[in-house]
Symmetry: C2
Subunit: 153 residues, 2 copies
C-alpha cells in the first residue's frame, strides 16, 4: 500500500494543448447555451436548426442537414421534435424530399432564439477586441479546414 499524494497540485500535461483547450471552451459555451435554451424547451441542435430554417424557409431536410453537417438519420428526430412542438411543418417537395417551413409559432420562437443567441455571443465575446475575435474565428476555421483535408466534407 502506497500513500497517495493529496497535497501537491497535479501537473496538467494537457494544459495549453490546442485540442484540450478547444474542447473545454466549446463544452463550456455549449453548456451555457443549453442552459439558456432550457426555458424554450429546445436543445442546442434543435435551436440551431430552427435558426437555419428561419433563414432558409422551404429548403429540403437534406439540404438543411448538409449545411450543419448533420446526418440524415439524425435529422429525423430533430425535425420531428420541432414539428411536434408546433414550430415547424414539413411539405412534400420534389421526389421524396420534404420542404421545411416555420409555422407562425415557430417564427415567434425563432425570434426568441435569435435574441438569446445574440446575448450569448455577446457575453462570450465581451472580453475580446473586434480584432481578437476576428483572429479567433479565422483560427477556428483554419483548424476546421485542416481536419477536413482528405475527408468527404
Amino acid at each position: 500500500m502506497t500513500k497517495p499524494d493529496r497535497t501537491t497540485a497535479l501537473i496538467d500535461p494537457l494544459a495549453g494543448q490546442l485540442g484540450y483547450e478547444l474542447r473545454r471552451a466549446a463544452a463550456a459555451m455549449m453548456t451555457a447555451f443549453g442552459g439558456e435554451l432550457e426555458p424554450l424547451g429546445l436543445r442546442p441542435s434543435e435551436a440551431s436548426m430552427l435558426v437555419l430554417i428561419g433563414s432558409n424557409p422551404g429548403r429540403t431536410q437534406s439540404d438543411l442537414g448538409r449545411a450543419l453537417r448533420i446526418k440524415p438519420a439524425n435529422m429525423v428526430p430533430i425535425i420531428n421534435r420541432l414539428v411536434m412542438s408546433g414550430a415547424v411543418r414539413r411539405e412534400p417537395g420534389e421526389g421524396r424530399s420534404l420542404a421545411i417551413f416555420l409555422t407562425d409559432d415557430g417564427k415567434a420562437i425563432y425570434r426568441q432564439v435569435r435574441k438569446k443567441l445574440l446575448r450569448h455571443e455577446r457575453r462570450f465575446s465581451r472580453r475580446l477586441s473586434r480584432d481578437a475575435r476576428r483572429r479567433l474565428i479565422d483560427a477556428l476555421r483554419s483548424i476546421c479546414s485542416e481536419a477536413c483535408r482528405g475527408l468527404d466534407f
Copy 2:
C-alpha cells in the same frame, strides 16, 4: 405543394458565430484525435486520463477526475477500462481512496499516446504562428473562465 429551392446556396446564420465555430473546430480536432487513437484501442477520454496519470503517478482517482473535470461516476468506467487493458493499476490509499499508477505496459502506451498527441497538436498548429497560437489559447481560456463564472468549477 411548394417546390423546394435546391439551387441557391443556403444562408448560414451561424457562420461566424463564436459558439458555432468553436464547436465545429473542437469536434473536428476530437474526431481526428479519436481516429489517431484507434490503433491503440483508446478513446479520447481514456487517452487523456492515461497521460494525466503518467504525469501524476499515485494520485487518487478523485484527484485525477477533478483535474479533468470528470465526475466520479464517469471516472469509474474510464479507469476500469484502463485497468482491464493492463495499462493501469489501482492501489488502496487512505480512506476509501484509490491511488492510480501506470503499469510497465501502461508506460509504453503512455509514450505512444504522448507521441501521437504531439503530432496531432503540431498538425493543427502548423498554420498558426507562435503568437497566433498563444493568442488563441488565451482566448479559449478566457471563454472557459467566463463560462465558469458563478458555477462551481
